[in-house]
């Protein structure tokens, strides 16, 4: 039992998680802060099941509450994320200024497939090579610049197909985008 437990802990940096928990326990909103710090520290910027189970046990938090928090906030990811991030705003202002077309274009350029059930509320997909994660948000709070797209943490406003194309070319894919 002991060895099985320590075996499972190999998928994350237990000492780091312990220190984050120790530093934040008792503070208001501790869980959010812990999850955020731990995700940032994970190589592929996501929260594997093992780490969630570990945090739950260590902080005496119910598993379902952790799951609720992680799936409520768009910032958390349950699947490994690519080193490039592309985020397309699907809020009202951006929608009326054509963000659906931009999303379709980005999906096509990255070789991603639209979900069969049509458009879901929020999308987060990673390319099969694991290099790029494409997400949507419900508003960047920059509606005056609509449509808004974020590429590797830079915000671009007034996007059109050409400027999106340009921005996508800056992605680090270890070669030109075919």
């Amino acid at each position: 039992m002991q060895s099985a437990a320590s075996q499972r802990l190999q998928t994350f940096d237990q000492a780091f998680v312990d220190s984050v928990i120790a530093e934040r326990t008792g503070r208001p909103g501790a869980l959010l802060g812990i999850l955020q710090k731990v995700q940032e520290h994970q190589p592929a910027q996501y929260l594997p099941t093992e780490v969630l189970e570990y945090i739950a046990a260590k902080t005496a938090t119910p598993l379902s509450r952790i799951y609720g928090v992680v799936t409520f906030y768009a910032l958390f990811s349950l699947a490994p994320q690519g080193k490039n991030s592309v985020c397309i705003c699907r809020g009202t202002a951006c929608h009326t200024r054509g963000s659906r077309d931009l999303l379709e274009q980005a999906m096509m350029r990255l070789g991603l497939q639209q979900d069969q059930d049509g458009e879901t509320e929020s999308l987060s997909v990673t390319t099969p090579d694991g290099l790029t994660t494409l997400r949507t948000v419900a508003c960047f709070g920059q509606c005056a610049l609509a449509p808004v797209v974020e590429v590797n943490h830079t915000i671009f406003g007034h996007m059109n197909e050409r400027s999106l194309q340009k921005a996508l070319e800056t992605l680090d894919l270890g070669g030109p985008l075919s």
């Binding site: 119910p62 379902s64 509450r65 509320e121």
Partner: protein, 236 residues
């Protein structure tokens, strides 16, 4: 510390203890306010919006189950405006999932159905979402059918506050919200579940049911939960 106050409910003067919600004062004075997510014995969530009431001097409608009664408040619990809001809230619940009463174990004993009938919801004015949802039959004794869940969170609260197991929570957000067990695992695999059945007893619809019941057979007992809550409060 807690002082007596007077509030007016539908024109009638009622005495209340400071800190009581409008809902509690109304019930204590024989006034029935429609509700779905509220349940005696557990905390209030204020999520279903069925209990909306008008308060004189305030433009927007307030949920009776989470609004404390205040000295001199004048509350209206029935009006055309309130009925139309309550009907709308119910219609949106029907639209969101797949409520096919004729084949439901809770047909005839369903709080959602009963409210729709009493508020005169004879049809739904919006297109149905008809989502494709799963049914979790992994638990040896119980079933969770997402098609009939209205996300009232009674199961979440009773399992946390009365049983102390906190198996359930609401995962996701917006239209994608679902009741989840643990890290969205099959219910039958939950280590935390004690199989006490409290969540099944409090579910207002046919979403949480006991196995082995056919259409119209599933009846429940919420009263036991209120009694347990009292006992739990009494023993430190």
């Amino acid at each position: 510390m807690s002082s007596q106050i007077t509030v007016r409910i539908d024109g009638v003067l009622c005495t209340a203890t400071e800190g009581e919600t409008i809902f509690e004062v109304a019930e204590a004075n024989g006034k029935h306010i429609p509700s779905l997510c509220h349940m005696e014995g557990v905390s209030s969530a204020g999520s279903c919006r069925l209990c909306l009431v008008e308060v004189a001097g305030i433009d927007r409608l307030l949920p009776a189950c989470t609004t404390p009664a205040q000295r001199g408040m004048a509350v209206t619990t029935t009006s055309d405006r309130l009925s139309s809001h309550r009907r709308l809230a119910l219609e949106l619940m029907f639209v969101e999932r797949n409520h096919i009463c004729a084949v439901c174990v809770s047909n005839g004993h369903c709080e959602l159905q009963a409210l729709a009938q009493s508020l005169g919801v004879t049809h739904v004015r919006y297109p149905y979402n008809s989502p494709r949802l799963s049914v979790d039959v992994s638990h040896p004794r119980f079933v969770l059918d997402h098609n009939r869940c209205i996300l009232c969170s009674r199961c979440v609260r009773v399992c946390d506050e009365i049983e102390g197991a906190h198996v359930w929570d609401i995962g996701g957000r917006g239209i994608g919200s679902r009741v989840v067990a643990d890290l969205d695992r099959p219910w039958g695999e939950s280590q935390a579940c004690t199989a006490c059945g409290k969540c099944v007893q409090v579910c207002p619809t046919g979403a949480l049911v006991e196995k082995g019941y056919a259409v119209e057979e599933m009846t429940r007992s919420k009263a036991a939960i209120a009694r347990l809550a009292v006992k739990k409060g009494a023993t430190p």
